[in-house]
Structures are given as C-alpha cells and as structure tokens.
Amino acid sequence: MSLLHLAIISPLILALFIPLVHKTVSKIHTGWFLLPLPVALFAYFLSFLGDAIGGQAIMETLAWIPSLGIDFSVRVDGLGLLFALLITGIGSLVVLYSIYYLSMEKEKLNQFYVYLLLFMGAMLGVVLSDNFIVLYAFWELTSFSSFLLIGYWNHRERSRYGAQKSMLITVFGGLAMLGGIILLYLMTGTFSISATVAMAGDIVGHSLFIPALICILLGAFTKSAQFPFHIWLPDAMEAPTPVSAYLHSATMVKAGIYLVARLTPVFAFEGLWIWLVGGIGLLTLFWGSFSAVKHTDLKGILAYSTISQLGLIMSLLGVGAAALHFPEMEDGYFAVAVTAAVFHLINHATFKGSLFMVVGIVDHETGTRDIRRLGGLMTVMPITFTLALIGSFSMAGLPPFNGFLSKEMFFTGMLRAQEIGLFNMESFGLLFPVVAWVASVFTFLYSMIIVFKTFTGKFQPEKLEVKPHEAPIGMLISPVILVSLVVIIGLFPNLVAPLIESVMASILPPLLAAGHDFDVHIYHWHGLSPELFMTIGVILAGILLYKFMPKWAGIYNRMPEKFSLNSFYDKGLENIQRGAAKITDAYMTGSIRSYLLYIFTFFILSLGITLFLKDAFVLDMSHVAEIRAYELVLAVITAVAAISVLLAKSRLSAIILLGAVGYSVSLFYVVFRAPDLALTQLVIETVSVALFLLAFYHLPKLGKNIEDTRFKAGNLIISIGVGAIVTLIALSAHSSKMFDSISQYYIENTYKKAAGENMVNVTLVDFRGFDTLFEITVLGIAALGIYSLIKLRMTRGREQ
Amino acid sequence: MAFQILLNFVLAFVWMFLKTSYTPATFIVGYFFGLLILFFFRGFFQTRFYLKRVYAIIRLVLIFIRELILSNLAVLRLVLKPKLDIRPGIFALPIELERDWEILLLSNLITLTPGTLVVDVSPDNKTLYVHAVDIDDLNDAVSSIKNSFEKAIMEVSR
C-alpha cells in the first residue's frame, strides 16, 4: 500500500467517517470537513507533474487477487495525471461551491457527501489504475455513486427516473466493457493495461479483436453519453447542480474519453476504431448541439451541450488515432487532433464547470432555470453575468478565450481527416469538416441563448417565486476561479502545453517510440487559414439563426416525440417489463398440471431424443430370467389393476385398486425372492390404506371425471410417452449390464464379518446402515410435520 | 383354573429341582405327577378340576370341526346347485352366555360354520342376530346352535 493507493482510496475512507462527523458536529456544514481532502489531493497530484512531463510514469502495485491477475496497480502518467488533477481540482471547487449551495438544515448532507466522496475515489481509481479489472470496479462504482447522487432527491419521481436510466445505461456499458476486457485478457493473458498496450501489435489480427473493440467502445460511449446512449445525461440533471457540474460535465462523463484515449494505442490499428470513434463522436457532436437549442431549461441546454462537447472530443480522438497509421508523417499532422482533444478536454472542464455553477446560482437565487421565465438578470447579478458571458463565449469558440483555441485546432483536425488515405476516408472524409462546422454553428447558437436569454432582455420578476439578488461570495469563488482559468488559458495557452505533451505521449506512445516527440505549441493566429474562415462563418451563421430563431424553431416540433430515443427507451423499458410479465404469466399458470406437463414433456423429449441420437436402445436377451406362467398372470393382474385405477369412479375403489397393485407388487417380491421386501411392502400397503381411509373422513368424495376428452387425450399421450420411455431405458439398461454387482461382497461377508444371515437386513443395519439412519429420520420428520400440520392452524394473513 | 395350572407348573419345577435335571423330559414327568396330585386333592379347590375343562375344550373343537365340515359341504351343495333356491334371512338368537369371551367364541363358531353369520349383537348382549343362508326352519336353526355350541361353551366356562 503506497501513498498513491492511499490517495486514491482516501476519499472512500473519509466517506466512512462522514456520517459520524455529521452526527457529532452538526453545527458546522459538513462540507468544510471535506474540502481539505480534494485540495490536498490536488496538491499531491501536482507533485507528479514534473515526472509526467519528463515522460516518466510512476507505477505502484498492490496485490489483490494476483492469482487471477487482478492487482491494484496504479500508474501515473500524463493522461492519468491530467484526469486526476481535473478530478481533484474541480472536485475542490465543487465541494466549496456545494457548501453554499446546499442548505445545512434542509438537506441530508451526510448522504450527499458520502456519495460525492465515493465518486471522487472511484473516479481517481478509474483514471489511475493500471489493471483493467480494478478499472472496471471503479468504473461501476462511479456509476453507482452517480446513481445515488442523481437520486439524491429521491422523493421526486424524475430523480428516480433519471437515476435508474443513468444506471441502466452506464452499467450496461460497463458490462459490455467487462466483456471486452475479458476478451482482451483472452488474447493477451494479462489484465494489466500497460502490458496490454505493449502487446498491442500482436493481437490485431486476432478473431476476438473486433468484438473486444466494440465491447470496450460500448463502455466508453455509454459513459461519455455518446449517441445514441446520450439520453441518460439530460435526465441526470435532476441531481443537485454541484453534482451536475462535477460528475456530469467535468469528470465522470469523461471517463469514456479517458478509456478511449487510454486504449487508442491498443485499438487504433483497426480502421473500425477510427470510424466508430470519429463517426459516433461527430454524430454526437451534431446531435447534441442541435438538440441543445430546443431546450428551455438551462440545465437541459447545458446537458446537451455537454453531450455535444463530449462528441467533439471523441471525434478528435478518433481522427487523431490515424496518426498511428502514419508514423512517417511530419510531426503532429494527424496528431494535432489528439492535441486538440486534450486541450479541449481541459478547456471544457473549465468553461462548462463554470457555466454549471452559474446556472446553479441562477437557479438558487431565482428558483427557476427556465429561460422563458428568466431574463434581464444582468443588472441584478452582474458578477454572475460576467462569468456566464465568459464561459459561454469560450464555449462558442470566440476569441480570446480558451475555447477559441481548441475550436480552431478542432477544425484543423477535421480538415486533415479528409487526407487520411485509409478506410474509405477518401470518399467520406469530407463529411468530417462539414458536420463539424454545422455543429459549431449550433454550439454558437446555444451558447448565446444561455447568456442572452437569461441575462438580457426583459426582467420578469413576476414569474419568479423569490426576489433575485447576487449570489453570496462563497458561491462565486468557484466559478470565478474557473472563469479565470478560461481567460488565463485563453491568453497563455502554452502554459498547459507541457501537460498536453505528456498526455499525448500516453495516448500515442508508438509515435514516441518511432522517434517523434510531441512539441505542442498553441498559437492564437494561424494566418488566414481555412479554420479562421470557418470560425467567421460560424459566427455569422449563428447570429443569423439567433435572430430568426422563431421562424425556424418549428423544425424541432416536426420530430414526433414517439420516435425520439427517449421514448424509445421508455417504451422499451416498459415493454420489456410488460412483455416479461406477459410471458411469465403465460407459462406460469399456477396450475400444477401445466408444470407437470412441461416436466413430463421435457422428460419424454430429452430422453427420447437422446435414446435416438445416441442409438442407445439395445435389447440383449441372453441373461434374462425365464418366465413362468403364474408370473405372467401376476403381471397381467397388476397391469389390469393399475389401469383400472384410472377408471375408478369412487375413491374407495381407487384405493382398493391401489392396494391391489401394492399387494401384487409384494407378490412379485415373493416371486423374485425378496421376503423382507414382501413383508415390508405388505405392512406399508396396509397402513397406507388405513391412512387413506382415515383421511377420507376429511376429504370430499371423488368428483366425476370433469376432464373433457381433449384433456384426457393429451394426458394419455403424455402418459404413454412416459411409460414407453421408462420401459425402453429399462430394457436397454438391463441389456447393457457391463459389470458384476458389488453385492457378491455382501453375500460373502454377511456371516463372516457382520454375524448375520439375512443379507438384506444386515445391509440395512450394517453395510448401509447410514441409509437407514436417515430414512428413519425422514419418517420422524414426516411425523412431526403431520402433527404440526394438523395441530397448527394459523390464521391467514399474518405472514403474507 | 389359572391357579391350578400355575400350581401344576410349580410342582413340575419342584420335581425338576428334586431330580436336579433340567430337561424337558423331566418337566413333563413332573407335570404329570403334579397333575395326579391335583386330581386327588381336587376337592380342596372351589373350582372344578381343570383337566375336565380341557376335555370340554377338546370336545368343543371336535363338535365344531364336525359342524364345519358338514355345513361346508352343505354350502358347497348350495352354491354349486344349478338353481338358486335359497331363502336367506336374519334371525334373532337369544343367548345365555354372559362373559365377553364366551359371546365372542360363540359368535365366531356360528360365523365359521357355513350358512350362519352373526350380523350384530344387541346392546344388552342378550341377543345375537344371525344371518342364515337358508332358513328352512327358524326354530331348528336356533335350537341346533343352542344345543351344540352354546352348551359346549357352557361346559368349558362353567
């Protein structure tokens, strides 16, 4: 257990103490006890920065299940470190923010912070572990903590709905990912991520490679809310805003990005990867930004915006993966997409985090997030307005903020995508920049909506439940810090360049090995490049669309709700449950007869087919005993009696006939030289008949045969089948006697070693006395059971 | 009677002691001598000499077996006769026996002899209701039972 491990699980450990703290120190907001931890962790992870930038990865291992190759190995390299810093950094800010956001009196803070800490620890685990299984474990933990956080206000129907949805989708992805991991394991024989990366070249052609790739991408896509799995994210907005800011924009949803980045060196050699990651990313980018515009809930807009931004990063990673195919290309030609991805990742965390916090402030101070009820808040909340403005502009890709820089690089990457001379990119590559541009227009549009619909225009206090005013200073600290980062990075982007370089080294290690080094320089001015024109086009088109929004917004209504993915999910879930109920009800009739029919049918079919397929029926007459006439007669009597039971009309005759069968069976025991059996059978038969008679006093008379003919015919067929199968197997089993019975031993030793002469009885009390011991136990239990059954009559409804 | 038998056994054992020989043969001899002694001193007992009763029992059995065989044959004839001209019925049989086992014995004997079967006993144990396959003469049937079986049983018990 190294310090690094401790750092990762420290949030989990602290989580254990939170309820205690909450209980004992109820006067102070629990958040304050929490805050030092992420800050300290942030500082701690900063200390790794030097190593990471120097290209060194720190590795610590802690044995968990080494026998299965599962170890809690932690590896800090550029990629991991970047995420760790995001998690702890934004975590600190969110905790600080939440202290002011969540009221001490009304909320169950202990639960909230426990979940939050769980999440923080889990997320650190995801990005820092070097073992797939451990990664998966933490991955699921993030899903669960997200589930709990979304359902934090669980008295709300929507919260529960959102929680369930997010969990279903992300856990589904998680499981798919687990499948992928296992497939990878089968190819590589290791669960270690770094080892897998090192073996990447060897497994490309493996038959399991593509399935593994798809499975893992399913995990990444669901987590990162890629189309069509994005539907959970908007509903996750039911969580308290700090949670949305933290989990659902800055960190958890980026776990998928992390996974894709992490496994790029493994899978990128497969063209499918580029297409899937790039294509799905682009689709998500477009769909997210397009859908964001129609929303009126600020958080809804932000949710879709997050989706679209995640798609953007994803598509960049996909396109950037092409760099691995062309190690001979000049530095950064395709890799620029990866650079853009990493850079945008950082930027997105800053501006989107701040925007969420701003929306939280607006919600907190006005009581609503509906832009139709908001407006003109600029004057009331000037600081908030400023923050929102900067954040939105950065998101829209306007200079001089950091969003502009990454947006430019994004265009570069997309433009270069056309030139990838592989996988039909020649023909369809043009789609990439086109879609990217269209999506950017919508991005611009919704960014503007966020700022201007909320803060400018007519102030409508009458639509608000509370009187709005500027937020308390504590609540503003966090967004201010984030926004300053937006500005600082916007102005001095090369501050983060070393970090990006180290991250790229993690994503594209083969290039590093091929002699490249990533030299990231980010420029504000590229000259009059196509990217610049594209940006200008975005702005112009965006403004136009904003102006004429009422005219064209109708197209959103053109898409019927029932074809939307959401209703697909809802209907699907409902239909699955209803269908399941229907199916189950259809065969679980509650009638024992149907169950027996299933069982007997299965009996007949499975054994019959096996008999047939295995050609198992043999008939060997060589060692059968001779038949005497009286035996035959006895057999006929027995059979007649057995069949007449079926026809018995009164219960007494049924019992008498059953007795007749029993007595004939005991006669068989006589004929076949089994005196003990005959004795026992006789007595038991008599006692049984007596029991039947005893019970008859309490039972109704045998009703008429109510069954109709079809019912009877069905029964008859099944019964004949059962009888036939039993007979056939008996004949073959007897014919394929292969060995002498072990009972010769008994015959020899009954007198010598057990001092008895009746072998059956000696077997019962001595050789196999154990059977007897428990057989009488069975009898004893039956006696107790019957006694209690008759004596104990509990009234209904006490238990159920 | 039980006392007499017991005494006889004791005497037999005493004989064995005296002879210091514990074989069945000695026992039988001892028993025989004891029997003799008992016979001679029978006047000292309130009850009859028990061997008499034994004789009565044997007689009863003999009567019974005779009846059994005879009436079995009768029933056989009845059953195998081509024409079924029987006249069955239930008749009441007043009895003088009192003890349970006597009644049991009587009814068993009645039942075992073909042609008659005890259907019920009256609540006061005074009457047996007997089903007969062929009641040719009611009084005949009653008196034959009373004369043969009941008397023989009385012999045994009294």
């Binding site: 057995a642 059953l658 038991i684 039972l699 019964s719 008996a730 007897h734 072998m759 019957i786 | -």
Partner: protein, 113 residues
Amino acid sequence: MEIVMSLLIGILFMSATYLMLSKSLLRVIVGTGLLSHGAHLLILTMGGLKTGAAPLLGQNAESYTDPLPQALILTAIVISFGITALFLVVAYRSYQELGTDNLELMRGKEGNE
C-alpha cells in the same frame, strides 16, 4: 422376465402419470403411490431377477439373489410411505382450508392470494 417386468413398469408409470395429470387431488396421490411402486419394481428388475435363492444364508443355496437392490427398495419404500402420509394430510388440510380438491381451482397465480 425382465422384459415383462419392464413393460409392467412402463404401464405403472403410465397410469401414474395419467393420474397425476388429472384434476382431482386424490387421484394425484394415488398416482404417486403407483409411481413409487413402479420405481421400486424397477430397481428390483435392474438388479437382475431370480438369480438365486432368497438372500438368507439360512437357505444354504449356491447362489443368492442380489441383496443390494432389495435393501435399496426397502429404504425407498419406507421413505415413500412417509411422503405419502404427509401428502395425504396436506391434501386433507388443504381441502379444509381451500374448500376444494380440484387442482385446477388451486392455481393461485404464483402464490398470489
């Protein structure tokens, strides 16, 4: 003989199955009785029939019938007796409580009242 016995066992199983598929609880119980008879005879048949004298050393025979199946059957007989008894009581108690011995009327969707 084994062939005859196998056929007989088949018939026993057939009757048992038919009875168990009927609606009346009592018939079902009778069916289970037949079923166990069939099963017991089967073991005996499978052990080989009439391969020697009864398995008593007092018989002083050269060969004896296989005693092991007999011991097994004995155990099975006793067990099935216990079960039949319990079943019977369950049947009568449920007739008391549920007021019917018709199994079709006893469905009760999967435990719902």
